[in-house]
């Protein structure tokens, strides 16, 4: 509770005019990921500038903005993948109230799953092994337990009926849309708290995209989702909250309905109505 109020105070100082409604909505929810004054760099280039953004539990937060605005980098800061590619960051990201730098990156990433733009199943592993790859890393060996989790996870992503007879086939012999759902199943099999999605549907056909969007709605019940997308209709359809990033800065953050119907800033309105970006 205390934490939440803190966050809202932070938002207040940055964007005082927006938060009154947010407070009413979010005050009783707790915040899973709390981003404070985050700045991210590649070498000396600053790609994110002082971002403040609370992510409430069991909500879908969409991050929109033109290409190169730092959406993906923002996502990668949260599970410390940014440092894998040689980037650095300053500021604070609190995950369950603890600074992410105080976590072991390996453990942090177990609790914050990620799904990428292009489906990337492991081609040398079967569908079954793809799903349990994360569990195996964590030392789960019990075959029965693994089978249960595989079934659960694949059902959750609505892939079970399509692949239940071919669990031992390679993970790349299925369609792109199925591959992406397999990757989501792989991410949720380790029971993370948060799932980060980096344009998960951009490489897929419309039908697969629709399936993924449906799936997001289901997943919201158990997980908190941060999704990066350049497709504004998608953001409007699936998310509860939307953040608009431009040139590494957080321009506006509010309820999705508010952003898409009555944005506070002209810049946001221009972007949403397609006048730039």
């Amino acid at each position: 509770m205390h934490n939440t109020i803190n966050t809202i105070n932070t938002i207040n100082t940055i964007q005082p005019e927006l938060t009154s409604k947010v407070i009413k909505e979010k005050v009783k929810k707790n915040i899973v990921v709390d981003v404070k004054n985050l700045a991210a760099y590649f070498g000396k280039t600053k790609v994110l500038k002082e971002i403040n953004l609370p992510v409430p539990r069991n909500k879908i937060l969409a991050i929109i903005g033109p290409s190169g605005c730092g959406k993906s980098t923002f996502l990668r800061c949260i599970n410390r993948m940014h440092e894998v590619v040689g980037g650095t960051m300053t500021g604070e990201i609190l995950f369950d109230g603890k600074h992410i730098m105080k976590y072991d990156p390996v453990q942090l990433r177990r609790k914050i799953g990620m799904v990428f733009q292009k489906p990337n199943p492991f081609p040398t592993m079967s569908i079954f092994n793809n799903v349990v790859a994360g569990l195996r890393l964590n030392g789960v060996r019990n075959k029965k337990k693994l089978s249960v989790i595989v079934e659960q996870s694949l059902k959750q992503v609505a892939l079970w009926d399509e692949v239940k007879d071919s669990l031992q086939d390679s993970g790349i012999n299925i369609s792109g849309g199925q591959q992406q759902r397999l990757c989501i199943a792989r991410a949720i099999a380790v029971q993370p708290e948060v799932i980060l999605m980096d344009e998960p549907a951009s490489a897929l056909d419309p039908i697969s995209t629709a399936k993924i969007e449906e799936l997001l709605y289901e997943l919201k019940k158990n997980y908190t989702i941060v999704i990066v997308t350049h497709n504004m209709q998608q953001a409007a359809r699936v998310s509860d909250l939307t953040a608009f990033l431009y040139m590494g800065e957080l321009i506006e953050f509010d309820k999705t309905s508010k952003i898409f119907t009555n944005p506070a800033l002209k810049q946001t309105e221009d972007y949403i109505s397609g006048r730039f970006g």
Partner: protein, 281 residues
């Protein structure tokens, strides 16, 4: 969970340090070989080594003028035969090679590059030495040519394929015949890459010994005649290394040093060419 994580992290660090050790071990023999070649070879490295003939057993000093010239002549004969064949075949594979002949020749080029050099020596022996009834620089040159053809063919082909089609189209649109487009535009923009391929091929054959043992044979005297046996640095190193005379052993080290310097010069040229190619782009 905690214990599992600890185990995984320990595993991680142990194996990662093993790869570092592997890298160190790999570099070690190289440093050793360089150290010995330089420290032992430098004893006799002087102008004398380049301008004098080998001395008979028991006499101190002498050089390998004939072998140095012989090696250059052998590379020269090899290039005179191998370069045109390799380059033209490469052009064929790149420009006209999408048919059966092209595929077969491409495959055979790979076959050729896998043949051990000693086998190539045997072939050059049966092809050239037996009909001519004596060992010769020419036979050695043929063997070296066969060895350099695959390298040169493949690099030529790849370099030509790297030239964007728009270059050709531009030439053709100007009404230039295809062959002139190929020669003047495509080859001209690919020549640096092809030159590096040539150098790579030369560096490869410069150090060859096995195919020369029973083709060029070796010669203790000064000879530049193409149809006579000829001396080469590598065969000298082999003979002198096996000999019981420490004087000759010493000279083998010096010859190795000279050979490595020769090859390094070739590969330095190669590095230089590849570097300037990327800069211009």
């Amino acid at each position: 969970m905690e214990f599992n994580l600890l185990r995984r992290k320990v595993n991680n660090y142990v194996i990662l340090s093993l790869t570092f050790i592997a890298a160190a071990i790999t570099v070690l023999p190289l440093l050793f070989i360089f150290y010995y070649t330089i420290s032992k070879g430098i004893t006799y490295l002087s102008l004398d080594f380049f301008i004098n003939m080998p001395k008979p057993v028991g006499e101190v000093g002498g050089g390998m003028a004939n072998a140095i010239v012989g090696t250059l002549i052998l590379i020269g004969i090899g290039s005179a035969i191998g370069l045109p064949v390799g380059i033209m075949t490469g052009i064929y594979l790149a420009d006209f090679g999408r048919n059966k002949l092209g595929k077969v020749v491409g495959f055979l080029t790979d076959v050729l590059s896998g043949i051990p050099s000693i086998v190539v020596g045997v072939v050059a022996y049966t092809l050239v030495v037996i009909p001519m009834r004596h060992f010769s620089a020419f036979a050695g040159g043929i063997a070296l040519a066969i060895l350099m053809i695959p390298t040169i063919t493949r690099t030529t082909e790849e370099m030509i394929k790297l030239v964007p089609d728009s270059f050709r189209e531009a030439g053709l649109a100007l009404g230039i015949p295809k062959w002139k487009t190929s020669v003047n535009i495509v080859l001209r923009s690919a020549w640096k890459g092809i030159a590096t391929g040539i150098l790579l091929g030369l560096a490869r054959v410069a150090g060859e010994t096995a195919p020369l043992l029973f083709t060029a044979l070796g010669n203790r005297f000064w000879s530049t005649k193409i149809f006579q046996p000829i001396a080469s640095l590598t065969v000298y190193i082999y003979d002198y290394a096996k000999s019981p005379f420490s004087e000759w052993n010493q000279q083998a080290w010096t010859a190795s040093l000279v050979l490595i310097i020769l090859i390094s010069l070739i590969s330095l040229l190669f590095k230089f060419l590849t570097r300037s190619k990327y800069k211009s782009r």
